[in-house]
Structure formats: C-alpha cells, structure tokens
Subunit: 327 residues, 4 copies
C-alpha cells in the first residue's frame, strides 16, 4: 500500500558512523563505497541511494557510478553537495563572511547539479549546516540572510532539470544554524524559481516543530519535495530508526503524507552508530510500513473525521487503536 512511494537511504547509513570521541566508528560499518553498496543491496525493498558530492560522485566517475547503481537496481534520488565535511566550510558556506568561500559554495552546488543531471537524479540538497553561529554577537543576521538568499538565487537557475532543495536544521554542527525551521526555509526560497524544501523529520523534531504540521505548511506552499526519515529525543539530531522514539508523531506523519498526496521519496538518514547497518535499515522500513499500514487499516477519511473534531481524548484513543490495530 505504501508502495506509491519509493524507499531510499543515504549511502552513509552503511558507513562507520564516527562520533567526536570515536573517530573510527564502533566497528560495524563499511569504509569503502563498494562495501556500502554491497550492504545496501542486502536491504529488502530499497529503491535508491543518496550520494554526497565528491565523496561518492564526481567529475571522474559519474557515468561509472550511475551504471554501478543501476546494475544494483538503485536509482539516485538525491545528490548532496559537500558544504560541511571540510575545514574550509567551518565558518560558513553560502553565508560565509568570506566572499570567496560563498562563491565556492555556489560553484559546488552547480557542480552537483550537473552530476545530478548526468546521473538522472532530480534533486540536489543544499544543507547550510555550517552557516550559523555559536555565540551571541557573533553574526550579522541581516548580512547572513541576504547572502543565503543571494546564494540560493545564484544556485537555482544553473540547471533547470535539477531542483534545488534546502534542508533546514536548528543546530549542529553550529550551535545555531540560520536556516532552522520550515517557515524560515519558505521565507528563504520565496520567489526563487526551481527551489523547494527537504524535510528531515529528525531536524523538525529537534527544532521544536510538530513534523506533520511542518509538512502541511510546506505542502500548502508547494514546497514539500523530499523527506528524510529518522527519529531522535528532540534535543539533538540522534539519527535513530524512524518511530523508535515518537510513535504517535510518526503515525500522524504517515496520515498527513497520505492526505497531502505526497508521492516522493521516503529516504533514511539514520546513523546506526553501534548497530548492524543492514538490520537497522530493515527495521526502519519495517516501522515505515507499519505506520502506513495502520493508516490504511482505518482509512484516511475516518481518521480525518476525528482529526477535525479537535477532541484530545478522541485523538489519544485513535492513536492507541491505530498502533494496537484494534478498535
């Protein structure tokens, strides 16, 4: 039933998953692209893989990577420009104080758009995670916002076959990031053609948003283009298995995606630091299937009727019945 969507995964889902203390990761991940790909092939139902620019795809290998993934049965739904893994981006990318860095960031997005077109991928994901600040009085918010708008406006027209999505996040790696919420993202891309939004569920949870509400707001503005799936404890981007923490909220997300007619990718962005990666991906998809199954069992119209009544206890009962599969 949930199969009107395609199931994806970020390739690093299968990697070693370092944290700041244990840079090697905890010993269960793959360290080569080939290894990650081999792991990904073991995951039942996986339709596509997200790649990071330069790390996984670049000028020299784009044709080969496209073929390699196609042979393995995978589409490439997304290419993510690397604006965050190198020291040079440490003080910002599209909104760096240094104009040269800002230009390099735009050029990096352009390159990824071209690789995306060549690889048959419809999107790039601009995540300005290094654009932010760590302390009060450390950023000129007006300059930063102007630079972000200019940067997105400079990226978007480069290649109309590839849409530029912006991914928001409240914090990490900076203590505060400028592009921090669904509503700010809408203000950022407003009026710039060929742009949209990537909703990372975990980022939304950690930004004190209600995720389904954010999805509805984005959809109302025509900007709900792509979704990253993961869960957390709301204080940090823990990148856990979807619905492992917030079962009720994930049920609500499933309902709203059905209701909003979302037909894009459901892509995992999980970091199974200490876990077997294939098992973690499969459990993630198992949860996603359960969520949509639970919605289908009751049906969107029956759920909508309760949603529209606004009675707290009825909504709690609905969640209980949907989860437990009983009435």
């Amino acid at each position: 039933m949930y199969k009107q969507w395609k199931l994806g995964a970020c390739l690093p889902t299968f990697a070693s998953c370092a944290d700041r203390y244990c840079l090697s990761g905890y010993g269960r991940g793959e360290t080569t692209v080939e290894g990650m790909l081999a792991a990904a092939k073991k995951v039942k139902g996986l339709d596509g893989l997200e790649l990071v620019g330069n790390w996984h795809i670049n000028d020299g290998n784009v044709a080969q990577v496209k073929r390699q993934l196609a042979d393995a049965g995978f589409a490439i739904p997304m290419i993510v420009p690397d604006l965050w893994t190198q020291a040079k981006w440490g003080r910002g990318s599209l909104a760096a104080v240094d104009a040269k860095i800002r230009r390099e960031a735009v050029a990096e997005v352009h390159r990824c758009m071209d690789w995306a077109e060549a690889a048959g991928c419809p999107f790039v994901d601009v995540w300005p995670g290094q654009d932010g600040f760590d302390h009060p009085l450390q950023a000129d918010y007006q300059d930063a916002w102007k630079w972000l708008r200019e940067g997105i406006a400079a990226c978007a027209p480069h290649n109309r076959k590839v849409k530029v999505l912006v991914e928001y996040k409240l914090r990490e790696p900076r203590n505060r990031c400028f592009v921090s919420s669904a509503a700010k993202t809408l203000l950022l891309i407003q009026g710039i053609p060929n742009t949209g939004c990537l909703l990372d569920i975990g980022h939304s949870l950690a930004a004190a948003e209600n995720v389904a509400e954010a999805a509805a707001l984005l959809a109302d503005h025509g900007a709900l283009d792509y979704i990253h799936w993961n869960d957390n404890y709301r204080g940090w981007d823990d990148d856990l298995i979807p619905a492992s923490v917030h079962q009720a909220e994930f049920l609500e997300i499933a309902y709203w995606l059905r209701r909003l007619g979302y037909q894009g990718w459901l892509t995992l962005d999980v970091f199974p630091y200490r876990e077997e990666k294939v098992a973690a991906a499969e459990e993630s998809f198992a949860w996603i299937r359960e969520l949509f199954d639970a919605v289908e069992e009751r049906g969107v119209p029956a759920i909508t009727e309760i949603v529209r009544r606004g009675e707290g206890t009825e909504s709690v009962r609905l969640v209980r019945e949907l989860l437990r599969g009983k009435r």
Copy 2:
C-alpha cells in the same frame, strides 16, 4: 492480567482544571466534592481516590468521607498534605526560610497522617513543590537540604501506621525545586525509617530521567512505594493521559513494574483541561491495560532476554512488535 494492581485517581482529575489564564477552567469539570465523586463513580474499574488534606478531608469530616467513599466502592490509597495551594507556602514549606512556616508544614503532615490512619489510608504524599528557587543566588542550598532532612525526620515517626512518601519534581510551581529526582529523593530519605518515594511518571519524564530506570533505582533501595500516572512533552508537567506521548517508554515502565514485582497503586494524576473527565480517565486506564497486556502477550522472560542483549535494533523491533501485537 494487570489486576494485581489497583487503579486509582487523584480526585482533582474530575475538577475544573484551572490554568493561570483561565482560572475558571474550561467548563467541563466538577466544582464540588460530591460532583467529583459522582463523576469518579462512572469510571469503570476505578478502585480508589486520592484526597488532598483540608480540601477533601479534615478534622470535621474524616468519618463521613471514609463512609462516603466506601459506599461508592472506593478505597483511599493516599492523602496529600496541602503544602502548595495557599499563599503562605509560596516561599517554601518544609524548607521555608521562616522557621514558623517549617513547623506549620510538619504539623500539616502530622494532621494528614492522623486523618489517613482514621480513613484506613496507608500513605501520605509529601510534595515540597514550593520548596525551591527562581533565580541564581536565591537559595542557601545547604540550609534548604538540612531543613528538608529535618522536616522529613520530624514527620516520619509521628504515626507508624502511615508511611511518609516524598514526591519529587524538577520544577513548577518554583522554577527549580530542591527535591528534583529519584536519586536526590533517595539521598533525602536515607536513614529515616517509615519513609519512601512516590514516583510521578510525568515528573520523572520532565526531569530528564528515564522513568523505568528511576523505578529500578528506587526499587533497588526499597523505596518504590506508589506511582502517579500521566504523560507530557518532557518540558513541563502537562499531566496528559498516560502513554499519549511516550508509548515506548510506557511499555518499558509496564515491563519493569512486572519485573520488579511492584504491587502498589497505579493512580492517575492527569489534568484533562479541555476534555470530558470521565472519558479521559477511561482512556487512561485503557492505555494502562494495553501496556500490561502487551507485556503479558510476549512474557517477561522473553522480553528480559532481549533487554539483556543491549542491541539497539532488537529493542526497537521489540517495541514495534509489542505495540502492534505481532511478530
């Protein structure tokens, strides 16, 4: 199955539930004790009612209240001394700077212990919610802790037929309360006979605790005497229906209560501000029953086996299977 426990409710569950903006409450609660009692009688499976000293039970009415509740089929599992609804407690009760107030607080607990004995109730619940501070440099933590220890030590021996439980809470009504966690409560009552702990699940969630872990710690110290059930979003004591927010955590609580051999009361402390009170109480018990049923369906030993392996993905799968009632 869950029937080795008794199901209780705080009497104010059925009251008008004021907040600081709308002092009348939102129009669906009872304003008299008789009305609350009539509402409580409609709740299927309810075994007992918690009373607040002076508000519901006092020197003049203790025999009558006992009979009134017995006639309605209710036990009185708990009497709560009123150390928090009057202006005089605003700057502290057992740990007030004013020694006279500290003495009055002890006397109030003593009175409630006597009413409890007379009413056949085994516990009083000392909740020092007004004992805390709002700002840095506003409290002498050493004095406060000493006074709290002295206060509990002065209360406990008064009547050995009634045990003095301490209820902890991180904040509200003070911005920070002194007795804020399970571990601090254990340090507070350490070495004082006839004392124990009341674990309010919502208080534990809002104190950044893992509730089941707190329950195990209390049980290991012989101090898991009584449990208040409610849920919240972890930032405030929202007093929502149990498991309406944290399904996985509540499943874990049910498992641990079974494993720890807890045989006390499961008492609602919910504030259905805008909801029909009887329906909210019944949905609360429906969730509690589902939780314990889910644990029984799999069985404590089978769950323990997975718990002891410490594999993240297996625990996520277990939660999914328990909630969905499938394997």
Copy 3:
C-alpha cells in the same frame, strides 16, 4: 540614552499572578484596577500601560479609563483582546473548529480596535494562544492555518487607525500553538495590510529562537512593531525579569534594537508571582537601562565590527567586556 524608547508595562504585572495551584496568587498583588494603577504610579520612568479588553477597558468605561491613565501620566500603547481567559475560547479563537467562535473572536478584535482608537492607542495585540492542539492527530493544520489567515484578514481592515499585531508563542495554554515563531507569523500576515508582529522576548526564547535574529528577520520584513520584555529558562514562559537569566542574549537584543533603529515601546510582560510588584518592575527597568548603557559605552559601530568578523572567542570577550564595563 535609551530614552528614544518608551517604557511600558502590562497592567497585570501589578496583579496577584495566579498559577494553577494557588489561584489566589501569593499575596503581594493588587486585585482591583485602581490598586494596580496606584502601584504602577510608583514605578519610576514608566510611560504607559497595556490594557486587556473587557477586563480593563470596555464600551462603558473607555473615556474614563483614558482620562484616568492620562491623569496618572500614562499612555496606552496597546490593548489586548481577551481571546484566552474565558472557557469559550478553550478550544480555539480565530482558528476554533466552531465557526461561531471564530466570528466572535473577530468581533472581539474589532471591539478592541475601536476602544483603542477612542483611547488614543495605536495597536491591538492578537495573541491566538488557545489556537493549537494538545496531541498528535488532534488538529487539521490546513484548516487551522486557513482560518487564521482569514481571521487576521477579517480583523485588519476594520479600523486603519489601529494596527493589528500578532503575538506568537510556541506553547501554553495549549501544548502546541499554531502561531509559534517569528517566521510563521510573517507567513501568516503576509500580504495583509495593517498588520505587524509583537515580539515577546520570552516567547521567542522558549521557541528555540535566537531573539536578536528573530528581531532582525521581522525588521527586514517591516514587521517589528512592538516588544514584550521578560526572561525565562527556555522551557516555559516563566515571565521573569528581563536579563535575569540570559544576560548575553539580552545584550545582543539591545545592540540589535539600536542597530535596527527600533523606536517603539519596551513593555514589561513579567509575572512576579512571589515578589513585590513595584520592585520587580523597577529592577526590570534597571536591567534594561544597563543593557542599553553597555551598548552605548562601546558604541554600535565598534560592536558591529566584531559582530561581522564571526570569531567566537572575540564575541565572548565582547560580551564579557560589555557586561563588566571594562576593556
């Protein structure tokens, strides 16, 4: 120096400050409008008082209230429609499921706009605090947002001499409110003439915003019209004395208000639950003066130079030097 602004206070600053446990308040507030006004007159430097519709000003007393405040030397910078203190608003005002309630909410705002004009007050403050939800699957986010837009659009043209400001808040009295951030407020009022935003500093802090960044965003959209001053611990709207918790952030706010050329009111929205009200208001203004004095001592251009460099350690040193008044 800070005197290009006017200093205001919400009238309830001087009231009894109930919380949900102690409905009488803690004994130090005034219970009549006359008493509050007498208290307000004792506060040095206070220029005006915010009133709540119906509670303080209404059809029968508008001329009298205007004269009473003028005689006391106070302007009326703001009238707040009461969309939150009565049971009938409990399930929403401008976005209530019940269309009749939605119409009543608009009518209430219209009435307040007329009283405002009659009282020489330039603004009304629409705070849709009851418009939200408490649980997943309890709200139709698309309907709610549409109704909010329609409601604001119905309010704004009523009287062009009075501007309709929207005040956002993440939560309380609802567990989640729809109008929760500066960016969402901008989307809400976008394209509707005669609207603007009321930035409540505490609401911004509790919504995981950086307040100065929110102020800059609002100003860039021409919507920084009015500011409520109070502080909190970020998890709840504690309504504490400004800068009592977040000294560095408040310094940054003072700098940005100077830089953005803000010339509106600086109005207290504090709840001194247990404190003498006049002393709390005076300490609030003392902090506000210190903040702007610290900015002036160094000067906006010198601060801007460091802000634009984006060096964390330099910003920390700047805060230290500004607070300590040394270099």
Copy 4:
C-alpha cells in the same frame, strides 16, 4: 585573589576538535602532543594539564612525560582512563554486558592509577560515557548499576595514593548514560573508600541540574574533588568557554566554591572547534578571574546575606550589580 586554586586544562583543548561531520577538525588545532604542549605554554597562568591514558601517557613514556611537563612548568592534576575512544568500549566499559570488557575497563583504570602515581598525579577520572543505552528496553538497569558499583569497588582500592573520581553525564556518546547526575554519582560511590566526584559544569547544566546546588550537595557528602569548566546551551555538551552562555549561574558557582572552601583545580574542558585554541583558553581564564573578582568585590558574607533572604528580585539585582561592578 582567585589564586587559592590552580588553573588547568585538558590537553585536547589544544587539539583539532573533530565533530562527526568534519573528522579533521576545522584547521586550527595541533595534531601532536608536542604541538599541544607548545600551545599550552603560551597560555598565561596555566598551572597544569590533564592527560588521557594511552593517548598521552603510557607504560613507555611516563617518566619522560612527567619531566616534559615539569620542564614546561605544568603539574599533572588528572589522568583520564580511555574508556571511550575505541570501538571496543562502544557497548559499555564498566557496565558492558560482556564480562571480559568489564574486566578490561577495570584493568585500564588500574593502569592509569599507576601512571598517575608515577607522574605525581593525585586523581584518575572514570567517565563511563559509553555505559548507557539508546532506546527503551535496551538495558537491564539493575545489572548495569550492580556492575558499575562492582567496577568502582574493584578500581578504588588498587592504589591508595590515587583517588578514583567519577564523572557524570546525562548523554553523549550514548543517548542516555547510567551515571547521569550528582545525586546518582553519590549513590554509586556510597560506602566505597578512595572515591569522589568530578563535577563537569557543562555536564551538570545539560543534566537539568543547578550547578551550584550540585556542588553544595557533593560537598555536603565530602565528594567535591575536582571541577571541569565549560558552558553550553543546556541541550548538549557544547564545551564552550565558561560563562559564555550562563553568566548568572557561573557567578553563583564562583560564590559557592568560595563559600564551600573548595581548594582544588579549575580545569578547562572546552572544545574550541573553530577558534584559536590559545585565545579560547585565555578568554576562559579571563572569565573565571572576573567571576571570582566579582564575588570578592562584594564579599562572601554580604552575598550570603542576600542568598539567605530568598527574595527573587533582590537576587536578580545582586547578579546585576556583581556583573556590572556597581551598586
């Protein structure tokens, strides 16, 4: 004035400071011990350096390291057993499910105790950061606590010239760590001679504690042995410059350390990810000096008088006057 304490720094303060995205760090740190030591020598007033076992000190180099640091004018106040940077500790150290790992953890602590004695260092810091869980139903809390108690009891008697301190933290690298608060640490070490507590201010802030209150509680139990200094935004262990976020709380810490008669080390545990390390360390000490200076300017008795009154507004005024150096 503050000079009755000694100022220390963790050696990694001067290192490259990786995060999970940018494993190289942001380009301003040292990559060799010699480089870090050279940087440390540039910091005015630094008295000693904390070392990590194996990384900085080991069987082969203990005499050399001792001489190297002595030549540079540095004491070694602390050696930290490495129970967290290697994949083998990923699923726990002292409380790992695997008994072999638990034994290795104890052996590692023993080794560090011997190196400490040889290096003239009085403490080891046992930080069980990998001992915890990521999901509900992933840990046997009773087993874990028993193993932790057994582990500390096995470590402590090994070498009575070196005291075993336990450092608590709520989360990271695990989503939840077992040893999470000051009060739990006291329960953990209770009755085990030659043990104490390391209070990391940032860990305390992120554990929803009031730091000064935690310090007083530890001191009342004779367990306030050592302090790590850093600040954060309370949601994560950001390891920022002390007092860069929480000025009022740090003032209160300084007051309480003076009042409690603390005479141990004040050691930086900061991660200046994007900053020059020497400047970050110097700014940290500048803040620490200012805090203690502000306390001395007013004097402990005068502050105590206000602290003991418990009046909120007076405490706010006190903080303002202490910070601004005026009355």
